[in-house]
Structures are given as C-alpha cells and as structure tokens.
Symmetry: C2
Subunit: 131 residues, 2 copies
C-alpha cells in the first residue's frame, strides 16, 4: 500500500528507534516538516524534532511497536514502552511526501502518568545537555 | 479491507458520535470488551465504557474525524475537537471480533492541556449525575 520510498524511510526510522542517531533523522525528515508533540498544541519545526526525538528515544525502555497501519501516504505506529516502573503506550502518526520524506510527525501518549513521566525525563536530559 | 459487519459497527459508532446514546454502544460493544482510557493505565470493562463514552462525547465540541486507517480487524480514527477555548486531538484505536463487535477501544489525546481539560469536565459531569 505504501510505496518503496516510504518503505525505505520507515526502515530507516526503525533503525533510528533501535539505535537513536540524529543523522538518520536528517535523512528522513523533510525540510518543512511539522512535529506535533504530545505535550504542546503548537506544531514545532524540524530542528525541534531533531533534538527531541533522539532524547525521547533514549528515555524509553523496552520500546516496541505493537500495531502498524498504513494508508498510501501515512502510517500509524502504535508503541509500548516503560520508563522505570511506569508503563506507557503511544502512537506515531506519520505523513510522507512523494519522495518518502516525513512531512508530519504527531505523537500521542497514554496514560496521563506516562506522559508526565516522559515530560519530567525529557526536561532533565535537556537541562543536563545544556550545562 | 474491513468486512461488512465491521463497516456496520463503524457506521453505528459514527451515529453515536453525532448523537451520543448509550443504546447504540449496547449494540456494538462486545460483552468482554476492554476500554483503555487516556488517563489510566488499567483497562476498564464494558460498563465503564458505557458510562464514560457518552459523557466524553457530550463534552467535545465540533468533534470531527480527520484521518481514518483500517486493517482487517482494526481501525484507527484520528479526531479533533474543542472544549471551550482548548483545542485537542486524539485517536480511537478500535479492535473488532468476527461478528464486527468492538472488543478493544483505546483512546489517546494530545496535548497535555487538552487531556487535563477533558478530565476536569468528565469529573464535573459524573459528579453532577450522581447527585
């Protein structure tokens, strides 16, 4: 259902998830992409995604995709993970352009406790980085 | 991709969303279904879903599905809505049995402010009901 270019991007995305490296994101995120975080309403840009996605990917433990659905130009990837003793689930809702690049990346997470825990961990790591 | 029974259930679900009535849910929710709320980790049962879904559906303003994806036995319905001045988005991740009944219904919502606002509104309405 998805074309070869999108399939390649998804393969690279799964490599990123297995071993977070922003260089992979540089390849697969379109220049004008929008990132919709689970925390804030306002969409963020590519630079934000390049910072936040590797940080989040490093925080999740035992991250695995549990369900995948595709349409011609989009994918819904449902995941489960832990952060310490907290279990959470989420979805990555991804849109692709004609070249298979990611133009839109939206994340939702449940439950509320998982979302809070992730926010706290991201905050800690980004503060440590900037010191 | 989805069979006729699932298509019928989805049609009834969309009728429910347009005019929330628990009688519709009685028809389409399987007896042993599990409901996964955006707030709490622990799955809830059919009775919980019969209470909470009509309440939530009445709270959302301008509710619309913005993206739909299907596999053989599941559907991902992405939505957008407002609660007063707060905008939110979410997904309904739905699984169906062979008879087209809903066996699993999972909801995730973004952003955090939308989730909080929904929790507060549901709390208010359920308290008013029990008085």
């Amino acid at each position: 259902m998805i074309n070869e270019r999108i399939a390649q991007t998804l393969e690279r995305w799964h490599e990123f998830v297995a071993a977070p490296d922003a260089a992979i994101l540089e390849e697969i995120l379109a220049a004008e992409m929008q990132f919709h975080s689970p925390f804030l309403w306002k969409p963020k840009d590519r630079n934000f995604a390049l910072t936040i996605l590797p940080t989040a990917a490093q925080i999740f433990e035992n991250f695995r995709y549990t369900r995948k659905m595709y349409s011609e130009t989009s994918a819904t990837l449902e995941f489960a993970a832990e952060i310490g003793t907290i279990s959470l689930q989420g979805v990555d809702l991804i849109e692709f352009d004609n070249n298979g690049k990611i133009t839109d990346f939206k994340v939702m997470i449940r439950p509320a406790k998982g979302l809070e825990t992730l926010a706290a961990e991201i905050g800690k790591r980004l503060m440590m980085k900037s010191e």
